[in-house]
């Protein structure tokens, strides 16, 4: 067993960190937490800028086959994620680069690959995911939005919701009922669509903290070319499951928390309460240390997942475990950091707020990771049913 990186990997990692650190210097002050990417104009601009910076180095196509412009290895993806997470740099479209691209590489026709991969690698087209509906959250089998084929087009009607950044994105990939008569799991098609298509209306949903990372998307006779599908018609379920496997790498979030831990330590080392530095309070020392333990445990399992993926092995259970663990660690971190800050823990971004209000923001935004990307309750089912082989109650 060997945790050592190769010399080449070390060199790459160094470069990823250097570039990200440099980009950090250009980050707008309003960028507090990744959700800001979608919420604030200057943050979205920054995202696009970073994307270009990454693209020109080939970093949006790490581990891809060289015929589609790929560079580097699967391991580079992991190391790059570490750097982006630690320095909290956007520019990496999780929908396009992380989820769609590997799905297309495995499941799409040549023409689709040729058409869509290159703009993703160039950081030119930003994507959103069109998954959930008001009555279909965790349970995608009850979707109702339809795409009815008419000639060489699909006519799309219905509503999607909780679409991260849909109001910013150029294109979307989604799943629609193409054969309302067919049986469950064999009536859905995975469709790529231009978000500027007439008949598509996007409305941001105000988030509890006043931001708006999520949207509702309405379809009213939106016409989409029939060629823009991935996989077979009515067999989109298989594509969704494939894509879901690329969805849950926690490395970015974990490394972002590492940075937050450093900020927390700094805050404790600099802030006095009752005439004593917070860092001298044994209770705080004890709890911050426990956060550090959990964070290191999260990173350890993220490496385990990377190791499996590097060998193209399945990481189903570990990925679910990691997702549960880092997302709930995020909750604990937010609760604990706002506690440490005392009365300042409730202050929103302003001159009174510690660390730009990041902790108060985290207190509310922690749900983005626990609820999204397969709610943790679903992840626990996955571990129990598919991992531990426990019987599924009918």
């Amino acid at each position: 067993m060997d945790f050592e990186l190769t010399e080449e990997e070390k060199a790459h990692r160094k470069e990823f960190f250097e570039v990200c650190k440099e980009l950090e210097g250009k980050r707008p002050a309003s960028f507090v937490g990744f959700e800001a990417t979608y919420e604030i104009d200057e943050c979205w601009e920054y995202h696009l800028y970073c994307a270009k910076e990454f693209a020109k180095r080939g970093w949006l196509a790490l581990g891809w086959p060289s015929e589609y412009g790929g560079t580097g290895t699967m391991m580079d993806q992991v190391l790059f994620a570490e750097a982006r997470g630690y320095h909290r740099i956007p520019g990496f479209d999780i929908f396009g680069v992380q989820m769609l691209a590997p799905t297309l590489l495995q499941a799409a026709s040549d023409s689709i690959k040729k058409k869509f991969l290159s703009p993703i690698a160039r950081g030119e087209v930003m994507w959103c995911e069109l998954w959930s509906e008001p009555n279909a959250g965790s349970d995608l089998a009850t979707l109702t939005a339809t795409a009815i084929k008419k000639g060489d087009e699909y006519i799309i009607n219905g509503q999607k919701t909780w679409n991260t950044g849909a109001h910013r994105s150029d294109w979307g990939f989604g799943i629609f009922k193409t054969d309302p008569a067919a049986r469950k799991h064999h009536n859905l098609t995975f469709i790529l669509l231009d978000m500027k298509t007439p008949g598509i209306t996007v409305r941001p949903i105000p988030y509890m903290d006043g931001g708006a990372p999520f949207c509702e998307v309405y379809f009213d006779d939106a016409h989409v070319p029939a060629e823009n599908i991935v996989g077979q018609e009515n067999e989109g379920w298989a594509v969704v499951n494939l894509l879901a496997g690329f969805e849950r790498s926690g490395m970015v979030e974990i490394m972002a928390m590492f940075h937050e831990l450093e900020e927390l330590v700094k805050y404790c080392n600099e802030t006095k309460r009752n005439g004593q530095l917070l860092s001298r309070d044994p209770i705080i020392r004890n709890r911050v240390a426990q956060l550090a333990c959990e964070l290191e445990a999260a990173r350890a399992i993220a490496y385990r997942i990377a190791d499996l993926q590097n060998r193209n092995e399945m990481a189903l259970m570990d990925a679910s475990a990691a997702k549960i663990f880092y997302s709930e660690l995020g909750e604990r971190f937010a609760f604990f950091a706002t506690d440490i800050a005392g009365p300042y823990g409730q202050v929103k971004t302003s001159r009174w707020a510690p660390v730009h209000g990041a902790w108060e923001k985290a207190f509310q935004e922690c749900f983005v990771t626990t609820i999204s990307m397969g709610a943790n309750e679903i992840q626990r089912n996955i571990i129990a049913w598919y991992g531990l082989g426990l019987p599924r109650m009918k």
Binding site: A341, Q346, Q364, F367
Partner: protein
């Protein structure tokens, strides 16, 4: 022993519940969050008609003459519905006047408070953000018949609309921290006072209040010079219990809404409330609510009876702080994405769980008081 509400309390509860349901819908709550004032004058006047601000004020000062326990019964309802505005700051700031005010101060202020004409708040915390006496640095210096106050207070709830501010100052820094504290009743219009709202998670209009050479007449001292800290402790104790009562109401709403939603929301061909993992979480939410409830009722009863209950107040606050945040968190998670929306009611409660935790002392502050009370040397 009879742990049921009295008939009069049941009437108070029901009236409050009906009143708030009609007069303080969540649309208004959200509107007030975004407003500058943070409260509705119209609603405030109606509350005054119901006698809420004067609930614990004796009848001879135009109050209702109810008990502290009755107050907590009311606050459980305001917590249940969410009632933005200066009710708690005003009511809690009334206690130092009742306890330590001169007859003149009482006659002047109490009827106005009861009639809803005067809003009061307390300015206690400062830059260090501690609830200990050592954190009081704002200085009051005698000058003839006046004192001159200098310093900056933080997190004074609704100070920007208050008519009076109970300002906790240091008048002696050669003694142990608790023994040099003096409390002033300050007219908020006095020259030298500047107020700024701090943006906060509950949008509850916590203020920075700067005192720059603010002249306050000696007769505005509440209690005695240098002897103010026991009064602050009394306010913190009553405030902690009051906040707990409010939190119990909020926790109950979170539990009820979550249970109700889980019966309606269908996923995988059944209401999500049929899933055992979620059932057990909801059972735990209910259990933590119910264990909190009687802990708070006990403390409220003791305070109401005039029994020493510093321990019970701190036990309750330390416990309920964590229960509210945890129940709030699970309420969001069991609702799923829908409850992350600003327009949903659950996050209104969830965000307030953090503010409630902080108000009148956080968990660790009260745990330390408990540690002392149970005899850890």
């Amino acid at each position: 022993m009879d742990l049921r509400f009295t008939e009069a309390q049941e009437i108070l509860r029901k009236m409050a519940r009906d009143f708030l349901a009609t007069e303080c819908p969540k649309t208004l709550v959200r509107e007030l969050e975004k407003s500058e004032e943070g409260y509705s004058l119209e609603l405030w006047k109606k509350m005054a008609e119901l006698g809420w601000m004067g609930l614990v004020i004796p009848e001879k000062y135009e109050g209702m003459g109810y008990t502290f326990q009755d107050l907590t019964v009311l606050l459980e309802e305001t917590g249940r519905n969410i009632l933005p505005g200066p009710l708690i700051p005003t009511v809690i700031s009334t206690f130092p006047i009742l306890k330590a005010g001169t007859e003149e101060q009482k006659e002047d202020l109490l009827p106005k408070i009861a009639r809803g004409e005067v809003i009061i708040t307390t300015a206690l915390l400062e830059a260090e953000g501690t609830f200990n006496a050592s954190g009081i640095a704002a200085k009051a210096t005698p000058k003839g018949n006046d004192f001159i106050i200098n310093g900056t207070k933080l997190f004074a709830e609704m100070a920007h609309v208050a008519n009076y501010i109970i300002c906790v100052t240091r008048t002696n820094d050669t003694t142990p921290p608790e023994e040099g504290i003096t409390i002033f009743l300050v007219d908020s219009k006095t020259t030298g006072i500047r107020c700024e709202v701090i943006p906060s998670i509950a949008a509850d209009k916590l203020c920075e209040v700067r005192f720059e050479n603010v002249t306050v007449p000696k007769k505005n001292i509440l209690g005695k010079i240098d002897k103010g800290w026991p009064i602050v402790e009394m306010m913190l104790r009553k405030g902690a219990i009051a906040k707990c009562a409010e939190s119990i109401g909020a926790i109950q709403t979170c539990v009820e809404m979550t249970v109700a939603y889980s019966k309606e929301r269908v996923q995988y061909d059944r209401p999500i409330g049929a899933f055992q993992a979620l059932q057990h979480i909801m059972a735990d939410m209910w259990t933590s609510m119910q264990t909190s409830r009687y802990l708070v009722y006990k403390a409220a009863w003791m305070e109401s009876e005039g029994q020493p209950c510093a321990k019970e107040a701190s036990l309750a606050k330390a416990y309920v702080n964590e229960v509210y945040k945890n129940v709030g968190k699970w309420a969001v998670r069991l609702h799923g994405a829908i409850a992350t929306s600003y327009d949903h009611d659950i996050p209104l409660y969830y965000r307030r769980s953090k503010a409630a935790d902080i108000a009148f002392g956080g968990t660790d502050f009260h745990r330390e008081l408990v540690a002392q009370e149970i005899g850890l040397i």
